[in-house]
């Protein structure tokens, strides 16, 4: 990819990040259910984080095994969070 294409790509991702940030702030003020709001916020945050990791940290151009090493390690706390939420939910069962 030429340098001009790289810059164009960085600018495009910047626009996406700005739009997603504005969307996140907007979601907070919507009259929707709390569970839906939380899911939306986490989804948007993860999308933004993924864009930064893939394009600005150039993970996209690394080898697949390198991406997997990073991805699987970062998935560990996410899986742990899901387990903790499920455990808390189970404790609240009557």
């Amino acid at each position: 990819m030429s340098a001009a294409n790289h810059r164009r790509e960085y600018g495009f991702i910047f626009i996406w990040l700005t739009a997603l940030t504005a969307l996140e702030v907007g979601v907070v003020y919507l009259p929707i259910a709390k569970a839906l709001m939380v899911t939306g916020l986490i989804g948007l945050a993860l999308a933004k984080a993924t864009l930064v990791a893939l394009f600005y940290m150039h993970l996209k151009s690394e080898t697949q095994i390198f991406r997997r090493v990073i991805g699987y390690c970062l998935a560990i706390p996410a899986v742990y969070a899901v387990v903790l939420i499920a455990e808390a939910g189970w404790r609240m069962l009557p």
């Binding site: 340098a3 790289h6 810059r7 960085y10 600018g11 910047f14 990040l17 700005t18 940030t21 996140e24 702030v25 979601v27 907070v28 709390k34 709001m37 939380v38 916020l41 986490i42 948007l44 945050a45 933004k48 984080a49 930064v52 990791a53 600005y56 940290m57 150039h58 690394e62 080898t63 095994i65 390198f66 990073i70 390690c73 970062l74 560990i76 706390p77 742990y80 969070a81 903790l84 939420i85 808390a88």
Partner: protein
């Protein structure tokens, strides 16, 4: 004995597993993974405390029932501005990298200086948020003046722990990037070796990435 000169990043022999990734780049990524675990621990602990609390922030209503000290809300608009500032600094960082790849030293230095400025402004924003250091501009005297003190509640303590731990990373990043900028000015990268800039850039993008998550979890999650 001749001095050993490390190959330029694009001259590294291709590794079967890690391609042309230099040892420095791999080392930084592994460090970032460990740092991510630190932040994950803080955010998970925050989630556990907040999820298990009957009342997270002491509002006037809660204070009337329990007698706790009324605590201020966190400023979403101002912090959204800080988030945008960090995103902009991530863009300037990657533009600096692109400029150095093109051997355009002047442009690379300009973009890197803009990145350092973005980091400094973010830290100033945090000082304003905590202490109201720039209250003459924003008309707000800071969370401490409004009654949010470290140690008085889980809400206050977790807020200061997480945001100041991130702030420490921003400060470290500013110092690291300033060092790289100085070396660039002295001509250390005139041979086209962008390895150090790329590695410093990884740290800076990680700082931005973590703030995206911290902003969402600490500031935006509904009460």
């Amino acid at each position: 004995m001749s001095a050993h000169t490390a190959p330029l990043p694009h001259e590294y022999p291709i590794d079967a597993q890690f391609g042309r990734a230099t040892l420095g780049k791999m080392g930084m990524w592994f460090f970032l993974l460990s740092d991510a675990m630190s932040f994950a621990g803080l955010l998970l602990g925050y989630g556990i405390l907040r999820g298990g609390a009957e009342h997270w922030r002491c509002t006037a209503e809660v204070a009337a029932k329990t007698g706790c000290v009324v605590e201020p809300e966190l400023g979403i608009t101002f912090t959204a501005g800080l988030t945008f500032l960090l995103i902009c600094s991530s863009v300037t960082m990657v533009m600096s990298y692109a400029a150095l790849l093109e051997h355009n030293k002047k442009s690379a230095m300009k973009w890197l200086a803009a990145t350092v400025l973005g980091g400094v402004l973010f830290l100033c924003g945090q000082m304003q948020e905590y202490f109201g250091l720039f209250s003459f501009i924003f008309g707000h005297h800071g969370l401490i003046a409004e009654g949010l003190h470290f140690g008085q509640s889980h809400y206050a303590t977790t807020f200061y722990c997480i945001t100041s731990f991130h702030g420490l990373h921003v400060f470290s990043g500013v110092c690291l990037l300033s060092g790289v900028l100085y070396k660039m000015w002295r001509g250390a990268y005139d041979d086209g070796n962008y390895n150090h800039l790329e590695i410093a850039g990884l740290f800076w993008h990680f700082v931005d990435l973590v703030w995206i998550l911290v902003f969402t979890v600490v500031y935006l999650m509904p009460e």
